[in-house]
Structures are given as C-alpha cells and as structure tokens.
Subunit: 245 residues, 2 copies
C-alpha cells in the first residue's frame, strides 16, 4: 500500500484553480471581465487579501490584468508567450542551461521551421521573406541589423504555420541574444559578421524558394553553428556537431 504525500491547500490556491480552469476551458474568453475584488470575496466566501493573492498569482501567469479604477473589473487576457519567456529565461540563467544547450535547442527549432517553411511557403510568404531580407541588407548599424535578423526568423517561423514553433523559437532566440549580445556588439569586425549573416540568409532563402526543405534546414543549422560556436566552450561543441548532417 502506497500513500501520496499531502500538502495543505491554501484558500488562495483553490481560487486560482477555479479561475484558471474557467480560463483554459474557455468559459472565460479573452476580453471578458472578472467581478471586482469585493464581489469575488463574497462569491468565494473569503477575505479580500485572499482574493488579492489569488489574483496576483493569475496576473503573474499573465492570465488576467487588473487596473485600478476600472469598474468593469479585471480583464481576462489572451494567451501570450510572456510567462513562458520569463520562466525559460529564469531557467536558462540558472546555470543548468548553458549556451551550448540553448544553441542546440535553437538549431533544432530553427532547422525544423526552415524545413517546414520551405515545404509550405506560398507566393505571399516569399515576398514577405524578400522584404525581411531587404530590411537586413539596408539596415543602418548593428542594432538595427540585429532587429531585422530577428524579424526575418520570426517570418520564417510564421511561415512554418506552427504556433509552438513560433513561440519557442522566439523565446530561445531572445534568451540566446541576451546571453551574448554584449559580446556580439563589441566584436571588432561587425561589418564582416553582418555580411556573413546576410550571405547565409540569402542561401537559406534560395533553398526555401526552391522548396528544398532539407537544404534550408541544413543551411540554417550550419549558419547558427558558424556564427555562434565560438562563444561555446570548446569541450561542449560536440553537443552541436551531431546536428550538422
């Protein structure tokens, strides 16, 4: 006979559960309003501080937002990757996830989105990608170039038609940039760097235009390795090379 360990269930936790259930199940849609705190405390039969702690937790999870003075009450928000971004970012900074693992993950995600994008791209997608690449070519300064690069990858992810790929890619790209952007922006040969990036992107775009997903994925992974591997400790680069087939 086995027993489960028990933990006391706080009142505010049960409130969180109920409201969260209503949100994820769709009974509460984005834009809907929750009753005010004073109304909620009578509905749940608890004090206002308990209600407020529950709302704080939900707000930290970006499920709701409350503003003082709004008589319509707290607003139910649309699902957004903000909370995912924060928790992944925290986890990444907590040393269990180093740059090597992040890059590895990014090679997986970017490679797959490139492959899918090449197979699924429409004519409109191609013009969007063209203009994104144009934005990189005409960028003035490194900061703008970096923004245009992120935008290009976002378009690729969008074209892959998978929201999970979009969100995860976005998050991982952000965290990688945060970890090494100071090193990148202080590199003494940023001009060479930018030209190299641009050439890589052109090759990738050609493969996508040719609907050659295999090549697009390989090129994307290779580009990541070529440009970032130098910031990965030498003994961890073997984690990356298996992805360069």
């Amino acid at each position: 006979m086995k027993f489960e360990p028990v933990a006391p269930v706080r009142a505010y936790e049960r409130i969180v559960e109920q409201i969260e259930e209503a949100v994820v199940s769709g009974r509460l849609k984005p834009g809907d309003r929750l009753p005010g705190e004073r109304e909620l405390m009578t509905q749940f039969g608890v004090g206002r501080s308990t209600v407020r702690e529950a709302l704080r937790v939900l707000q930290a999870a970006e499920l709701i937002r409350s503003r003082p003075g709004d008589p319509r009450g707290p607003e139910v928000l649309a699902a957004s990757p903000g909370a995912l971004h924060r928790s992944m970012h925290r986890l990444a900074r907590a040393e269990h996830v180093g740059l090597a693992e992040l890059l590895q993950f990014r090679m997986v995600l970017d490679g797959s989105s490139h492959l899918l994008a090449a197979e699924l791209r429409t004519a409109e997608d191609l013009t969007a990608l063209d203009s994104a690449l144009e934005g990189m070519a005409t960028a003035d300064g490194y900061a703008e170039f970096s923004r245009a690069d992120v935008a290009f990858h976002d378009v690729i992810a969008q074209v892959s038609r998978n929201p999970l790929l979009v969100v995860s890619g976005e998050v991982v790209r952000g965290v990688v940039l945060e970890l090494i952007e100071d090193k990148l922006s202080h590199a003494n040969d940023r001009g060479t760097l930018m030209r190299s990036w641009l050439r890589h992107h052109e090759e990738v775009l050609n493969a996508i235009r040719a609907a050659d997903g295999e090549s697009a994925a390989r090129l994307a992974r290779q580009a990541l390795y070529d440009n970032y591997a130098e910031y990965v400790p030498k003994d961890q680069r073997t984690l990356l090379t298996p992805l360069l087939t």
Copy 2:
C-alpha cells in the same frame, strides 16, 4: 522622437524585482532563508499585505517556498522546470493549438532527442533504455503500458542531455495524451496497438545502440505518424508528412 509607454510600478513589483535579482544573481543560493514577513515589511518599508503579494508571485515562479510556523523564514529554491512546465502547458491548452500542431512539434522534439541520444548514449544509458523497454513489454494493461511508454521517452530525452528538450518533450507528450487518451483507451484493438508500439520502440532502440542517429530520428517520427495520424483531420496531415524524410 519616440517615447516608451509607461505603466505604474506597484510596490510589490519592486519587491519582486529586488528579491528575484538577488536569487538569479546568486546572492541568494538555494537553501538560503529570507527574513520573515514581518521583518521584510520593515526592511522594505511597506505593509505586510504588500510583502505577501510579492512573496506569492515569487512562490508562483517557484523561486521560493514558505511554510507556516518555520521560524527560519521562506526558503530559496533551486531552479526547476516546474514553472516552465505550467506556462507551456497553459499556452498549449489555451490558444487554438490543435492536435496536428502538437504532433508536428512532438515529431520535431522527439526526432531530435532520438538523434542526439543515439550520438551521445553511454553504456549505462543503453541498459537504462533496455529496462525501460522491458517495462513496456511486461506491462499489465493499457494504463501501465502508457506509463511505461512515457517513461521510455523520458529516458531518451534524458540521454539527449538537453534539459530544454527534456522539459518541452515532457510537456508536449502530456498535452497530446490529454487530447487523445480517451480515444486510445477505448480503441477496440489495444492489443494490436501495444504490440505495434513495442516493435517500433525496439527498432528505435536498435538504431540508438548502433549509434545511427539519422535512423533513430526517422524511425521515431515515423512511429508517431503511424500511430497518431489517424486522429488528425485528413486535410491537416500534410503538415506532418514533410517531417518524414
């Protein structure tokens, strides 16, 4: 000239920032204790409810844990993927992420972890995989078989040595199962199903033993497609086929 939108900064948010900064920067290590709430309210110069709301947020992020009665105060926790797990789960369930997108994402993740596992596996990893497979073969009933299957995939992810792959895979597998487990458990030919799964896993394990990452990844993706594609609407299956190279 461009201006940034401003949002009023709440007192509890400033407290969260300070404590979170201390945790991620390492000034507070796991196992350390925060002062009690009454002490914190004098240090920050705010009321106890404000302190408590800040602690609630930090607790929801799994950065700290507080237990009533403990005179040593709230405990700083080690980084864990729990918060990431929850936010990804919410995002997957909330926004219209259908079975097709989830399966697509899972094929990407599982394929990559199989590839990496085949390249990085040690002798101990192989024995662990053997016993996981043994657990599936000797499983009694569908529920136990399903648990053993999940455990097998978890071992694979662990062997790939990437915590992001582990946690993302875990989450996506969980969500996929939630969406179709009732259909699976009511299938009339569960015996055939389980035998088919088992054969697939044996093939995959052989490829991993042979350090043939390419094959392991292909087999894993094919197995997912073969066993789950029937639950995907026919017109969405084209999203999956590009991954079956």
